[in-house]
């Protein structure tokens, strides 16, 4: 098994190139901003309901702070920033020609892909783990429903795993990192909003579109609803994208 050396190499490259630092920096700054705004809003609502206790019945810190926070992480940050982490995985190797050496080392194509995928997934996990600071802070001031929070994080990890796999696939299609990022963002955005057509279409096809939509599946986790169909959706998307990436690398070998 040669996954480990590939994984280490990718991590080393992420550590020496600026892109990962830039993504982390932007992510954390924007996250901080979101969190403080959402929290402010919640604090104001709490204050108002202190004057009028009947309003306070529906106040729930998990529901009002963590759920929108998960929503923001997934849409704006994961969707917009992950393409920048995955774009280099294969496109850069192809651009610089290093793929020619990598693919002539005694390592199977799927080991290369898995090593790269796990590296970027590891990076993503670290990034998401840094946001644990927010629920921990909340827990200090309020009673948090940890089950729901954990389910939200599980959702983020599953969603991230599928997005990163799509990114890896897009990176296998081209020698240009920019093109890879554009493809990734385009595919993910379409998958995100594809459910919007469900109502007008209706019927079976409407249901299909709704099931294809990542947005549809993501919110359930944030609400604390664990459903096998949501889990399977992300797992299937991940496996499909990884499989396509594998075939794409194989096809490129034949083209030379």
């Amino acid at each position: 098994m040669k996954i480990w050396p590939i994984f280490k190499k990718e991590m080393r490259l992420y550590a020496t190139s600026p892109i990962a630092y830039v993504v982390f920096f932007i992510f954390l700054v924007v996250m901080g901003w979101f969190f403080s705004q959402i929290l402010n809003y919640f604090a104001m609502a709490s204050m108002r309901s202190a004057m009028n206790p009947s309003m306070g019945r529906d106040l729930n810190v998990t529901e009002s702070v963590m759920r929108p926070l998960f929503g923001n992480i997934s849409v704006i940050l994961v969707l917009a920033l992950m393409p920048f982490l995955t774009m280099r995985l294969l496109a850069e190797e192809r651009q610089t020609g290093t793929i020619e050496l990598l693919l002539t080392y005694p390592v199977r194509d799927w080991e290369v892909l898995l090593g790269k995928y796990l590296a970027v997934f590891g990076l993503y996990t670290v990034l998401i783990a840094l946001t644990l600071l927010y629920p921990l802070m909340l827990a200090y001031f309020a009673r948090l429903e940890w089950g729901t929070v954990l389910s939200g994080y599980l959702g983020l990890l599953l969603m991230g795993s599928s997005f990163l796999a799509v990114g890896l696939f897009a990176s296998s299609l081209t020698v240009s990192q920019i093109v890879a990022a554009a493809w990734t963002f385009g595919i993910l955005l379409l998958l995100w909003v594809i459910g919007w057509g469900a109502d007008t279409l209706g019927g079976t096809w409407g249901k299909v579109l709704q099931h294809l939509s990542t947005m549809e599946h993501n919110d359930n986790f944030a609400k604390g609803v664990l459903d096998t169909k949501d889990v399977l959706y992300y797992v299937n998307l991940t496996l499909l994208a990884l499989f396509l990436a594998y075939r794409s690398v194989e096809a490129r070998r034949w083209k030379g």
């Binding site: 190499k9 080393r12 490259l13 020496t16 020619e100 050496l101 002539t104 080392y105 030379g256």
Partner: protein, 324 residues
């Protein structure tokens, strides 16, 4: 160690190589020669398992490059033409990565890496980013990654391109030192390099092998004559006729005349040394003999003759086709 049979590769409608066959014996260093675009890199990419051939087969270190690709890849070291390295990695960690991927055991890894860094003389830059290294150092790092797992077969695509003369000499002696334990196939279009480093040569032109074998036998094969150059002061027509009269002489050509002296190129049958007879002839005729020497054929002449001959042949064929 390397057996290639009727290897063909198409890129879409373009045929890069066609029916290429050759073999390399264990422990040999063989030069793979050809003009640019002849198919050298394509052949090497197939041998290194980077891409499959369209048809034909190749066995490297006893395994088929297509069916047992992993087995082949465990036994080769490959240096592609443009030396693609991870510019954002440092030399030491990079070589350790390569050693690990190539399956050098954990206990040997540090020693192997130190050893190749020493052999390729990159130990003084082991903490530098590869991207900041000069071309010569990069080339040596590339060679180091090829030999770090001590492979049976080395496939080197233009290993000395872009280096300064001193670096070229260093790399050559390094490659030469690999003979015996390693089988090396190296491509180049620098002809003297082949005579200096290699024991055998394979010449490829327009995607097909046009000649192969030990360098001496190739020279014999393409120049089946012994050549002597003479400079004589004497009347050129008479000199020419008398020399032609010597038995075994096939042709005499006078090249240039200055101050009454003329230079003649004498071609005699192979194995026939006509120098003594020319000397006696000059003495007898009282011509002044200024110079008399045997001229060796170089690989360069063989190469040019083969490649030019090919081209002439093709042009002729094309003309014939156009005529029909």
């Amino acid at each position: 160690m390397i057996e290639v049979e009727r290897l063909t590769k198409h890129y879409g409608p373009v045929t890069a190589i066609k029916d290429v066959s050759f073999s390399v014996a264990p422990g040999q260093i063989v030069g793979f020669l050809g003009p640019n675009g002849a198919g050298k890199s394509t052949t090497m990419r197939i041998l290194s398992c980077f891409m499959p051939a369209s048809s034909g087969s190749a066995r490297v270190a006893g395994h088929d490059v297509f069916r047992e690709s992993l087995e082949v890849r465990r036994r080769i070291g490959y240096l592609p033409e443009n030396v693609p390295l991870y510019t954002e990695m440092r030399v030491g960690p990079y070589l350790e990565f390569v050693a690990e991927v190539k399956g050098v055991s954990r206990s040997d890894r540090r020693r192997r890496v130190a050893d190749v860094m020493d052999r390729c003389r990159v130990d003084d830059v082991q903490n530098r980013l590869i991207g900041t290294l000069s071309k010569g150092y990069r080339q040596r790092v590339g060679l180091a990654q090829a030999i770090v797992s001590d492979p049976e077969v080395l496939i080197l695509d233009e290993p000395t391109i872009g280096l300064d003369p001193r670096q070229i000499t260093e790399i050559r002696s390094l490659i030469k030192s690999l003979a015996g334990q390693h089988t090396v196939i190296l491509s180049t279009h620098i002809l003297p390099e082949v005579s200096m480093v290699c024991s055998g040569v394979i010449i490829i032109n327009k995607g097909a092998v046009v000649a192969q074998g030990p360098i001496d036998s190739l020279v014999d094969q393409f120049f089946p004559t012994a050549r002597v150059e003479v400079e004589i002061v004497g009347p050129p027509p008479a000199v020419r006729d008398r020399i032609r009269g010597i038995s075994g002489v096939l042709s005499v050509e006078d090249q240039m005349v200055a101050n009454g002296a003329a230079r003649y190129v004498v071609e005699a049958a192979r194995g026939r040394d006509v120098r003594a007879e020319i000397f006696k002839l000059a003495a007898q005729q009282q011509w002044d003999l200024l110079e008399l020497r045997r001229v060796g054929m170089t690989l360069e002449e063989v190469f040019i003759r083969i490649v030019a001959g090919e081209e002439g042949g093709e042009a002729g064929a094309a003309a014939a086709e156009a005529g029909a």
